[in-house]
Amino acid sequence: MAKLYEYIVRRALTFIPLIIIITLVVFTLTHIAPGDPMSYMFSQMQMGEREAELRRIYTEKWGLDKPIWEQYLIWLWNVVRGDLGYSFHIGRPVAELVLERVPKTVELAVASLFLGWALSIPLGVLSAVKKDSIVDRLVTSFSVTANSMPTFWIGIVMIIIFALYLGWFPTSGAGLDLGVVEHLRSLVLPTIVLGLSRLGMLTRLTRNSVLEVLNEDYILTARAKGLKEHVVVYKHALRNALLPVVTILGLELAFVLSGAVLVETVFAWPGMGQFFVISAHRRDYPTLMGINFMACVTILVAMLITDVSYALLDPRIRY
């Protein structure tokens, strides 16, 4: 266990240069891009002397007149101190704004990952156990097809069928102020869409993993002992076969975060992804950097958890 602890610390330390490089790239990309937050803010106004003065004051206040590298260092130093800055547009702390929206995205991500797992594990096991049968072919073609459909399009189709035509679920929005039932109803469609996008990949992973384990010698031994087939599969094989499926959670999270941007846009779901798209239009630098930084840290931590959970679940792996 001490070794594992050391490993976690060592890996966490390698995150620091990674985060610096990634944020530097994003920072440079945002700041050298044409158009600036000033032009967005003042685009609705008549440019008089008062506005020019305002513009000058804000440029100075936000440090936009400084060279980019200096702006980046200031940003980085503030992050080290735990300050993500203030949103240009909304004027509230970025951390606060992001944290307001995180639960919505997490809710969607968790629900859809749960759905993905709950369906893909039985499907994958079934198709591996009945390899080359009709069931296997159906499951395999289903997973390839699910893998090939663009999430946002499934979203649009679901809205047309289940929200507009049948009227079972609302087309968009979310919020507990509508009441729990209404909120859960609005969660259904985005969850299915996002879950379906991961379902194909997870089913395939489960199938391959089970097939691989079924070829192992100890399964042959178990069969040779005369154990019943379901005992062999469910007691001996499944335990090992599900390892990679469970531990991929970390990487899945990264995919779901990316997918959430599209799904949230289609369903007008008030989460991080939608907020990011809006902030990009407004050239709200601190907010963009804040969301990027959080997403980046989340993915890195998730990758670390993946590796650690592997070590914890599989006694053969030692660090």
């Binding site: 390698t14 044409p34 663009p150 649009i156 599209l262 990009a280 993915i299």
Partner: protein, 305 residues
Amino acid sequence: MMCGLESMNEAPKHLATEDKLERRVSYYYVAFRMFLRHKPGMIGLFVVALTLFSAVFANIIAPYDPYGLDPPLRFRPPSLAHLMGTDNLGADVFSRIIYGSRYSLAVALLVVTISMSIGVTLGLISGYYGGIIDEIVMRSTDAFMAIPAFFLYLVALSLWDVRGVWVISIMMGIVMWPTFAKVIRSEVLSLKERPFVDAARAMGANDLRIITRYILPNLWGSIIIIASLRMATAILTETGLNFLGLGDPTICSWGGMLNRAHWAGAQLEYWWAPTFPGLSITAVTWAFNLMGDGLRDAFDVKSWR
């Protein structure tokens, strides 16, 4: 593949010195034959070929000008005149889909070419030389995989006004190389321990020659499999970006069509506008996925027995 066929038929006439070449040709020849027998793979190949055909001959196939706007003809349901109806601006959906295949295929091809060039080169170098170079390359693949890629595209494309085919392709190409690098590296690691590499070195071949003439020829199978599967991913990502309105609005693209259909609202009343572009994206992505799987099965030596 034609040369593979010929040399197989004439095998007995060949000289002993060409034995090495002979076996290499026959490896790809067997894989090719296996692929021909792989039904889903052939379906995929057929759909890909069809898309390629429609992309190349778009100006002949498309019955209308995809950019032509005809407001009186807005929201026309599918009919004989307009096979897939017209969209909210009166453009013919079928013609736009035909032209859209150009954009999707061009972007996907560029993305895969760029990421393949970077990934295969770095994978070869890091696997062959190992040590500090390997360490640097592998840490960079980690870094690239930790980038929230979609967020990066969003930042870059929503802030920059230049969004042509090249900008999207280069960005995605740069982000997508690690898959190639990782697979190629692990294969090189095992290939470089094989006797034929030692033999080549004993004959005085330098590193460059060993890599390009002895190691790389054994990797084409893996490269073509990943390339096919990455084409699918590239198309899905590209259409997603175009759906968010981050592509070039002046070019006909499937994602852009979905964007237009989605924001025009009243989707139930004109279901054809979002349905057909989505089906096209699904079909092409599905075809590349099937083809990739078929190739994987065909190149899997274990399945030959």
